[in-house]
Amino acid sequence: MTKKISLVLAALLGFGAISACSDKLAEPTVNVSDKAYYEKFKEDGLSINVYNWGEYIADGSEDEMMNVNAEFEALTGIEVNYTTYATNEELYAKMKGGGADYDIIIPSDYMISRMIKEDMLKPLDYTKIPNAQYIMDSFKNATYDEGDKYSVPYTWGTVGIIYDKEAVTETDIDWDILWNEKYSGQILMFDNPRDAFAIAELILGYSLNTENPDELKKAADKLTQQKPLVQAYVMDEIFDKMGAQEAALAPYYAGDGVTLMKDYEHLGFVVPKSGTNRFVDAICIPKTSGKEDLAHMYINFLCEPEVALANAEYIGYSTPNSVAFENISDEIKNDGISYPDDEYLNNKTTVYKNLSDDANKLMQDLWTAMKSES
């Protein structure tokens, strides 16, 4: 059953999500620090299974863009079987359901701590990931994986509000605008409880990691109150709906906000002053992987500054790689969206932690009740 649903979802959120890299490169073009390291298994005809978010790696689909997987294949001779998922929960369900055989996964912070707790990840051997030295200090020793034993940060970002410049007149946009009756029927909302609750919690002044049943209930009440104003609960449909001006306001991830602003002139993006969630997606090796050496090599490759830069530019999310960051254009560095200043990041943003089973269950129940109320 799980599989079937995932399949349908995968089909929904990206037809042909399973895309084997067909464009083979004769010679790698990327500059790497230690070529010999990558060529260890060149003649062995090996392969590696990578499971990543949709649209989350530079794929060479535009001119001048690097095709990261093809480069890796050309450099190492290791074939990359690349598949994608749409949500952390889908990834989790796939791994729990058994039968999954992945060597690389890239879950988000809270999911990483859940997987660590449930002993689903392999400890990393940093002698095989020399490029981890490029990861910025502020991303080391994160709360979701203390000591960085299981994960290497891949991208990060914040949650903000995408708005239609023609419809939204306010200049000072903060979370409470999503409760403003003026925009009734024009508001889109996250279709996942964790992100939706976080917004309510921000307004109510609770911690984004609260497990207090009363606070969770009050946050649910806040969301119930918002429901009549909400046009639809959606995730990636936001791209189409905001693009076609079906709606005026939608909370979403900064990286996607940047992409949307590039594609549509009428859209703006703001990271609310009052604070927000900061997320980190990090690379891990599942416990079930039998190809540790190859997996470490792949992680090291993703940390190559040139590769990290190509990925950051394509995905639009922020990079934790210090050298890649230096090479990002000033325009993006200073737009206040992708790289908010340190003061804001340190004082106003919170990274999710994994909630206790009870809190997760309560949140899910409250969410279901809120959504099924008519």
Binding site: V230, E246, S374
Partner: protein, 279 residues
């Protein structure tokens, strides 16, 4: 001798049936047993009825799903019945063309077809843009229950037309002629002759529309805006939601199956009853 051929044939029959029986065991019986197992155990594999009990808190979602699926089924029947009748009475060449038109949408991916409705029904969608030309304010169509029902009707209509058409095709023309000869007008022929003879088509059409409609989850998400939660969505949430709970998900699936089974049994009673009247 006679008996010998008989056993021989049944052995052959068994052999021919074997692939399907294996298929059924591996892909229907075993998964069903697993659903039942998960539904009645905790995460640690201990027997419990707690999950089944928990399902009842979602009674309102069940009621809504059954209600919407029932509306969609009735609309499908009302649209499909005359369509199938006309289809079965046209010339053979026209029939094959019309039949192809009925099936044509099914060649396209289900999700694409539903996705297309989003752009048709949206506030700035095709219909509202067209109305806008005449200065009519845009009507909210997307993200309503009506849109969900429309999505169900649109996607499952062929499954109603086809069985009806198949049954009506088999009605001998001479039966209709006899009815006319004996003084029945068109309407009376339809209600007294065609209708009773097409009951098997009606019941299988209703089954083929109602069952997938009640368990759909993509239609309600895409066209209902995610605020018209149906059972399908609820089941999906147990597997891909915040709290991974395949046991509750299985319990909901099991209860849904039982409900569908009951409804279908009741339906078949009507079917059998009508048959007897006909006899």
């Amino acid at each position: 001798m006679n008996e010998n051929t008989h056993t021989h044939r049944s052995l052959l029959q068994k052999l021919i049936a074997a692939p399907y029986i294996v298929w059924m065991i591996v892909f229907i019986i075993v998964p069903l047993a697993m659903v039942a197992y998960f539904a009645m155990t905790t995460a640690d594999g201990v027997f419990t009825l707690e999950n089944i009990k928990d399902v009842w808190q979602y009674a309102n979602i069940f009621v809504r799903s059954i209600w919407l699926a029932a509306i969609a089924t009735v609309i499908c029947l009302v649209i499909a019945y005359p369509a199938a009748y006309i289809l079965s009475r046209t010339s053979a060449s026209a029939q094959s063309t019309l039949l192809m038109l009925v099936m044509l949408p099914m060649w396209m991916n289900f999700l694409l077809r539903t996705y297309a409705w989003m752009t048709i029904l949206g506030n700035n969608g095709l219909i509202n843009s067209f109305l806008g030309l005449f200065g009519i304010d845009s009507i909210k169509m997307l993200n309503t229950q009506g849109a969900v029902v429309l999505g169900m009707v649109y996607n499952y209509l062929p499954y109603m037309i086809l069985p009806l058409y198949t049954v009506m095709m088999k009605i001998d023309k001479s039966v209709l002629e006899a009815a006319h000869d004996l003084g029945c007008n068109g309407a009376k022929t339809l209600f007294k002759v065609v209708m009773p003879l097409s009951i098997p088509g009606i019941t299988s059409g209703i089954t083929m529309v109602f069952v997938p409609a009640i368990s759909t989850f993509i239609i309600s998400r895409m066209l209902g805006g995610g605020s018209q939660l149906l059972i399908g969505d609820l089941i999906e949430m147990q597997f891909l939601g915040n709290s991974y709970n395949p046991n509750l998900g299985s319990a909901i699936s099991l209860v849904l199956m039982v409900i569908v089974l009951i409804i279908m049994t009741v339906m078949n009673q009507f079917d059998a009853g009508d048959d007897k009247v006909l006899m």
